[in-house]
């Protein structure tokens, strides 16, 4: 039984490691300028964790193979006691694993911060994002280049005033463009501001390697540059209620000329 267990453990470890090593189920192609850093970090983490995982599982299997089916009592077991007993063994293991986790965190946060904690490029295209149960809306400043002020009490799905604009007294709001698809130009930085009307949501586009929560009461900046025109799915990855499964929108990356044409064709919100 012990030897069968050793074989099964080894197979599980090797097959699952192979699935990662061969990229059988991997991320879709990255279409962002920062994504290669995320992917490299992910790869490094997978390699380090993968080597340790496989080594630990194979060691476990070897020990079980070698000693698993011995009878007898503790006094007759051939395994030597770890020098100093179990306590230093646990301490050493904890320190080693702790160092690994801290190193990965430290290196990883540098990559994360370079994407999420950096300033958007000056002149980045500003777009407001509003998440609500269970849809996303996107707002462009319109011809005047100014966003109307958001008044939460004026938010109304009934007349499509998702952003709570006050066109009667706020003239900058009248030409704002509000759409349900995030259309952006390729190779140009975009700077988003994430608002949520109700609960926590998340902005996740796999191809752009961006995942950022919406937090009620906060306006969260997010910026990136997409490189490849196409249509990509934006999904909410923060369980937000009954319709969460259906909360999505599309990201359309267009060539700069197509984007300029698209923007020209959009009707102002009011």
């Amino acid at each position: 039984m012990g030897r069968l267990f050793a074989v099964v453990v080894s197979l599980i470890a090797l097959i699952s490691a192979a699935i990662f090593a061969l990229h059988t189920w991997w991320l879709p192609v990255d279409i962002s300028t920062h994504g290669s850093r995320i992917d490299r970090q992910l790869n490094e983490t997978m390699i380090v964790a993968g080597i340790l995982f496989v080594a630990a599982q194979l060691a476990l299997a070897a020990f079980v193979w070698r000693f698993g089916e011995r009878g007898g009592t503790r006094a007759t077991w051939p395994i030597k006691v770890f020098p100093g007993g179990a306590t230093p063994m646990v301490v050493i293991a904890t320190v080693l694993v702790g160092i690994e986790i801290l190193v990965l965190t430290f290196v990883g946060s540098k990559v994360w911060a370079s994407v999420y904690q950096s300033e958007a490029a000056p002149g980045a295209l500003q777009i407001d994002v509003l998440a609500e149960q269970f849809a996303f809306y996107f707002r462009y400043a319109g011809a005047d280049g100014k966003f109307g002020v958001i008044h939460p009490e004026k938010m109304s799905d009934a007349d499509q005033n998702f952003f709570g604009l006050d066109p009667a007294s706020d003239t900058t709001a009248r030409d704002d463009i509000v759409v349900a698809t995030l259309v952006i130009p390729a190779d140009q930085p975009v700077a988003l501001r994430l608002h949520t009307k109700d609960v926590g949501h998340s902005f996740y586009v796999r191809e752009v390697r961006i995942q950022q929560d919406f937090v009620p009461g906060m306006v969260i900046p997010l910026h990136f540059t997409a490189t490849t025109p196409g249509k990509y799915e934006l999904v909410c990855t923060q369980l937000c209620g009954l319709g969460h499964y259906n909360m999505r929108a599309y990201v359309e990356v267009k060539s700069p000329t197509d984007f300029a044409q698209w923007l020209k064709e959009q009707a102002p919100a009011f």
Partner: protein
């Protein structure tokens, strides 16, 4: 199950084929008639396109782009979806027994405004290949919201109190409609030309009210003395925002 569902749809659809609104007076019904037209002065808000791109099955149902229905105006400043009803002079009317049909189709509510009497049966259908979660924002009546996956049976209910209830879908924020629950059995909704007709009115003095979700309400008194037809036109004030 599907057959039974279809049969119910056909049955209810058949009984309501005569037109919108809870009261469809037969032409043979004796009594007076109040007819007229609802128009606006001022500047109405623009009809805005509805972006349904997150629900491709609904986009596919609309060959031409869909626009908002909260202020639908037509030639000659006519206003559609105005509820015209007897707000005084018709007390104590018994509830109609025919079922008011409310559909979720192409991620829109059809009709945009459904008028019904207190205690009149209401059936809500989901004709879409996707889930809806209808949420009438009732304040006087009990508020509820119910999920209706594709192919689910209709939601059957009634309302206990008169109220103008905005209806939204908790899954598709752009979906918007109204349940108008009235005590009177004489009510209707203006058509695309802004015209309306209230028939079968016994002789008496009535207050006729026109209500629109954005342009407010207006009333006038009309006295009916027999089988005559009286005209009552309404001019509502529109604001662009």
């Amino acid at each position: 199950m599907i057959t039974r569902f279809t049969a119910i749809v056909a049955l209810v659809g058949g009984t309501l084929a005569s037109g919108p609104g809870p009261h469809r007076a037969s032409p043979a019904l004796a009594g007076g008639t109040i007819s007229g037209k609802v128009t606006y002065t001022g500047t109405p808000p623009k009809a805005r396109p509805i972006d349904m791109s997150k629900e491709p099955s609904c986009v596919a149902q609309h060959p031409t782009p869909v626009t908002t229905q909260d202020a639908v105006t037509g030639p000659g400043n006519s206003v559609e979806y105005v509820v015209v009803y007897i707000s005084a002079g018709d007390e104590g009317a018994a509830a109609a027994t025919d079922t008011v049909r409310y559909e979720q189709k192409g991620c829109q509510y059809i009709p945009h405004v459904a008028v019904m009497q207190v205690h009149q049966p209401l059936a809500v259908f989901n004709d879409d290949p996707t889930s809806h979660n209808i949420h009438p924002l009732a304040k006087v009546n009990a508020e509820w919201n119910k999920s209706q996956p594709k192919g689910a049976p209709p939601i059957r209910t009634t309302w206990d109190q008169p109220e103008f209830i905005a209806v939204k879908c908790n899954v598709h924020p752009w979906m918007h409609g109204y349940f108008v629950v009235l005590t009177t059995s004489h009510s209707t909704v203006t058509d695309s030309t802004g015209a309306f007709k209230l028939e079968g009115l016994p002789a008496g003095k009535y207050t006729v009210t026109a209500w629109h979700e954005r342009f407010g309400r207006q009333s006038q008194e009309v006295t009916i003395a027999g089988t005559e037809t009286k005209t009552a036109n309404f001019v509502l004030t529109a604001r662009p925002y």
